[in-house]
Assembly symmetry: C2
Homo-oligomer: 722 residues x 2
């Protein structure tokens, strides 16, 4: 990005005499923030007009040079992408992505201004189209505000200077003036036509949303994938990484993971499990030992073949999971029944080089998880542990993340490769109507102990033919996917909503109600009160923080912490102090309440725990509404299409599961042939829930599978899934 | 391993009629344990003779087939390897390693018996030599005890049966009888000859040691590398792994790591550092960005080139450290001075595919560590943090691991590649006289921020030529090497000695003094007392555990927990209970003391903290004795050869450091040409200690470097090192 001073001298050089020295303020993300930021600066013009500068890109053949459109407009002009496209005869204008901003305009989101035109390389400037809002050209204040290449500064220029500047950009040929007010009516009408689809006007929503949401400029309802990406990146939870399918887990998200670790680690310790660490590398010989198991993972295994400039004699795999890494050593360590049970766990990362679309937290090529591996004398002991661990997984979701889950067992098709039975906690994402596997606890039976020869002599039998017993094994894993599920379920159009138990900052304290009338002493009193409250809350274990940053307005701070999902905001101002109280604002439902300073610790702790349980209650209510008992096939696909999952009487046969997937995919298409956005993904079994519906009950030999008509065994939960 | 029943039927088939059914007991590691184990079994012969079966291997050309020697002897016969070698005309008999036991005899350490001869493949049996102790053949009890292929069973046979069995082994031709008592005197004399060297008789020491040490059969003094390996594996701290240079960190060791994590994590949190997780993969483009840095790591980088059966378009590296992984994102996140300081840390594993000899914990291809990375506005802030973190590293070593370290700064040659200065805590291993780098905290200056363009605008300067400032960075790391250093410093010939603060089990409670005379009720009273003491200690946060296993004798339990280094043993028996006291035994110095039941919690807490500080005091005393001020070059190598490190007035020039290394290596050889076991490794600079000697002080312009005679700047610590 160019330097501001360079710009100023350039403007001066152009003879644009009223290019005042830029004013510094806090960096801003929205017009509201900008207005607030300027309100704290002294010596400004009495009247000024705020602006927005937007960069669009039309749909073009890849062979054509990109033709970006720069729209310079009054902040509240309805800059509708469709209308602009129509005016310029360009198809499907969309906001340009960050690469265009960086590479072509050498600027960044939030700092875009007309001055970025000066940065466009000579070979590209001829393709740029500029649209200037007529409302700006008619501006009467004489002071139009722009960011001079950074959102933490503002420069005020007249309409004439703006025009001179645009004209001064060498090579720029396409400049259009446009009256956005005139177009607004036409577009508003267009939006109401049902056939136009949501996507076509999303851009316009985006513009408005970006202003009101302070950072998140897509609605969860309108474009869920983009919303998810924005919430993760703009809350500083996650950063995209330059190796595809890998992501940076930033402190806000890692804190959640540490909370999960702490809870779960204590849980398994009380079950007698001990932590350890096995190498991440596996020799191919060992990896291949259990055939069924490795077939499940082989296509995703990453191979190291070279170290420095030396080719390895044998390629070495990076663990996709550690059954075959660990069990040869179990065979060594288990010599007698007195060495059982053997219970270990490790916190590590594993690598599964999937070629499907990666998704942060949900499907990543490297991910963090824990994997527990235990060996027992009997199936009964092993099964007890399988369930004990599953209960811990349910508690992680429900008690820590406020996410309701459905416990059950996987179908034969969906179980863990090489194991006997997989139990699971299944989550549900209401925004997409898709199920998501939350964590699995496997009973491996004696499959691996037979492959790896993990045996003991039967202590019950002292006869001459004393047999060798193969141990019964379990394995179980929970990953950082937990974090993605939490974000998807609780987040809203303002950003993250963090369940209090896992929020790094549970309470953010913001000084408020201070204006230019207040003295420094007034400000000090409020700051001290904030710090005092912070100290009181920290003393009782509440993770409280004061935001006393001077350059930022209260509104900017509210947005900052809302995007990051901080559960409770405490506002403290002179009026609150006069009443010996503080104002609390809940992130989940925006409920405001004044709370007395006396006993504040207890009030806040109560508020945090109320919010925690309210979030679970709300999410469970949604889940309950979206799990439908379906007794006839014809209802099945419509239920899926209404973003629900279905509990159906089922025969539990593999072939039937395949047929359900095929038919539900085909029927989806068949029902709505004209809409290519309809979800055509087939449904698969999510689990056979432990808690079976009783109305109507499955009657042995009478109740039939709704797909194939064979005898139904149990209700199964089917749905589209991640 | 063959089945016992199969063996019995084989013995019966051979007409060995008195091959009684084997008796079961706890698995045993030594003759003492064996005697104790048998003492708990009823229905045994009134008199019996315990035995030992040893397998040796002579020094042979690799081209020859291996000729193992099986010695079957009375448990207390002095089976001297030299004498046996002389008798058989075989050179340098050594104990056979585990591979020979497993592959040739299909048995394992601790379970070796004459019956393993039956397992030897037909193609090998002709090379096996058997030596039978004449004392056994003359045995009058008629009941010679052997382990029938497993140390948890005993079979009693007569001398005649033993002879018949040996004769029955098909293809076995070399059987010798030997009178060990007669040879003992001769060997005892041989041992006293000073020229014979320690190594030659180590085997004999080993035999005695294996009996008395319950598992560790090498002395720390005699064969330190083997001792280290045995202590790690037999204490269950670590297991060797089938990918070279990788090891399994078992729960006992991982617990230490978790204690370090907890302490250090709290420490850096209070410095404002937050945890995160960056991917383990780096694109080659990013890895190569900082030239000097990557040159330091390139030969050790592991490359992933394939996923499943798909060749990757570009090979992807596994991080050897994360500077280049993280800093492109620092450039993105740091936009203004208000984003500084940026402080993150991650707990992860890194991979450095070294081709030097790997050593558990000290040099491994994958290792666990934490790496902190921070960015600051100024050098001063960065340096403050460099020292703050170094202090935490020192505290980890001293306060948790009871290991004294020397703080200082690395020479230019030894500093971190790409950084400006490396501060370090240096440890010292008295057993080898070698220094070891304990943890490093780097000031990176602006090297990386210039490469990765991590800049802010100077907030102090609002002038027209407002410059961009490159941030000042730090990085710092501490690894599981800590655990290796702790083991090497504190361990003894009985096994691990764990500093109480990091011991998973701090107190082991063993019921004692119960004999066959005692009633079940007596036993119950003692057990209850143990559990009661355990509960009392746990209630005050002491990690206490009772060992109430029934099949094991107190002696076996003592050995079991001594190998594992448990700091305090509490013995509770009827006599102790009568006196309302318990017996405490310290692991570090074997001090025994009776402690009253009343106030036991406080007494034990005090004992643990005394032991913790005694261990540090003892280790520091040794360190202080081994750091020698050396003022003349001629003393330098002799000081190294006496297992010390040297503080020398030094010029701090790279060339001089090279010369010191070369000269100290050559001089070593020159001094002792006849002894090829003398350490010829050259010395390198370990650090320039912060705490400089004052007697004599370095006088600027007067004191000369002891190697080259240039002006000395500071005292530097030089030594052989890991």
């Amino acid at each position: 990005m160019s330097d501001i001073t360079a710009l100023i001298s350039k403007l001066s050089g152009l003879g644009l005499s009223n290019a005042a020295t830029p004013v510094e303020h806090a960096p801003v993300d929205s017009v509201e923030q900008w207005a607030e930021a300027l309100s704290t600066v002294s010596g400004l013009p009495a009247e000024y007009t705020l602006t927005k500068t937007l960069i669009f890109k039309p749909k073009q053949p890849k062979s054509e040079a990109m033709a970006p459109v720069v729209v310079i407009a009054k902040h509240d002009s309805p800059t509708n992408a469709k209308a602009i496209g129509a005016e310029l005869k360009l198809k499907e204008l969309r906001f340009a992505n960050d690469d265009v901003l960086t590479d072509v305009f050498q600027t960044a989101k939030g700092s875009v201004s007309p001055f970025a035109l000066a940065n466009v390389p000579q070979e590209s400037i001829g393709n740029v189209r500029v649209v200037v809002d007529k409302a700006l050209l008619a501006d009467s204040t004489g002071n139009i505000a722009f960011h001079p290449l950074t959102s933490s500064h503002t420069v005020f220029i007249s309409a004439a200077t703006l025009q001179s500047f645009v004209q001064s950009v060498e090579g720029l040929t396409h400049v259009t003036e446009m009256d956005f007010t005139a177009d607004a009516g036409a577009v508003a009408k267009a939006e109401k036509k049902p056939s136009s689809g949501a996507a076509a006007t999303a851009d316009d929503d985006d513009v408005a949303a970006a202003v009101s949401r302070g950072g998140i400029d897509v609605s969860k309802e309108v474009d869920f994938p983009k919303w998810y990406q924005q919430v993760l990146t703009r809350s500083d939870m996650l950063e995209y990484y330059d190796v595809s399918g890998c992501y940076i887990v930033r402190p806000l998200a890692y804190f959640v993971w540490q909370q999960i670790q702490e809870f779960f680690d204590a849980g398994i310790r009380s079950l007698g499990v001990k932590n350890c660490y096995f190498p991440m590398f596996v020799s191919s010989k060992v990896l291949d030992r259990e055939k069924e198991h490795i077939e499940g993972f082989a296509p995703e295994v990453a191979w190291v073949t070279r170290a420095g400039s030396t080719e390895l004699a044998e390629p070495i795999a990076i663990r996709p999971t550690s059954e075959t890494v660990m069990y040869p050593y179990f065979a060594k360590w288990v010599r007698s029944h007195r060495d059982l049970p053997l219970k270990v766990n490790q916190w590590c990362s594993v690598v599964r080089w999937e070629f499907k679309n990666p998704q942060p937290f949900l499907r990543t090529r490297e991910f963090l998880w824990q994997e527990g591996h235990c060996a027992y004398m009997t199936e009964k002991e092993a099964m007890t542990e399988v369930y004990d661990v599953l209960t811990l997984y349910r508690r992680v979701y429900e008690e820590l993340l406020a996410v309701p889950v459905i416990e059950g067992v996987k179908s034969q098709k969906e179980k863990f490769a090489g194991g006997v039975a997989t139990t699971t906690v299944e989550g549900f994402i209401p925004a997409t109507g898709r199920g998501i596997q939350g964590g699995t606890s496997h009973y491996l039976g004696q499959n691996f102990s037979k492959m790896f020869n993990i045996v003991v002599q039967d202590p019950e039998d002292s006869g001459a033919d004393r047999p060798k017993l193969h141990v019964h094994q379990t394995s179980w894993g929970l990953s950082t996917r937990t974090i993605g599920v939490m974000v998807m379920i609780h987040g809203d159009d303002k950003g993250l909503v963090m369940p209090p138990r896992v929020a790094e900052t549970q309470v953010i304290i913001v000084p408020c109600g201070l204006t230019v009338k207040h003295s420094d002493e007034d400000r000090r009193v409020v700051s001290d009160a904030c710090l005092n409250v912070e100290a009181r809350l920290r003393a009782v274990g509440v993770r409280a923080e004061s935001d006393l940053r001077e350059l930022y307005t209260p509104g900017q701070k509210f947005n900052h912490w809302e995007v990051r999902g901080v559960p409770i905001r405490l506002e403290i101002g002179p009026n609150d102090l006069a009443k010996d109280s503080v104002m609390t604002v809940r992130r989940d439902n925006s409920a405001k309440a004044s709370v007395a300073m006396a006993g504040l610790e207890t009030s806040i702790q109560l508020l945090l725990s109320t919010m925690q349980s309210d979030m679970l209650i709300k999410a469970r209510k949604t889940l309950d509404e979206r799990v439908k008992i379906v007794l006839e096939w014809k209802e099945f696909v419509p239920v899926l299409n209404s973003k629900c999952v279905a509990l159906i009487p089922w025969c539990e046969r593999d072939e039937c599961e395949d047929q359900i997937k095929t038919r539900s995919s085909r029927d989806s298409l068949g029902d709505e042939p004209e809409d290519d956005k309809a979800p055509s993904m087939g449904a698969k079994s999510l689990c056979l829930p432990f808690k079976q519906p009783t109305n109507p009950p499955i009657v042995d030999g009478e109740t039939k599978c709704i797909q194939c008509g064979e005898n139904a065994k149990r209700y199964a939960l089917f749905g589209r899934s991640y």
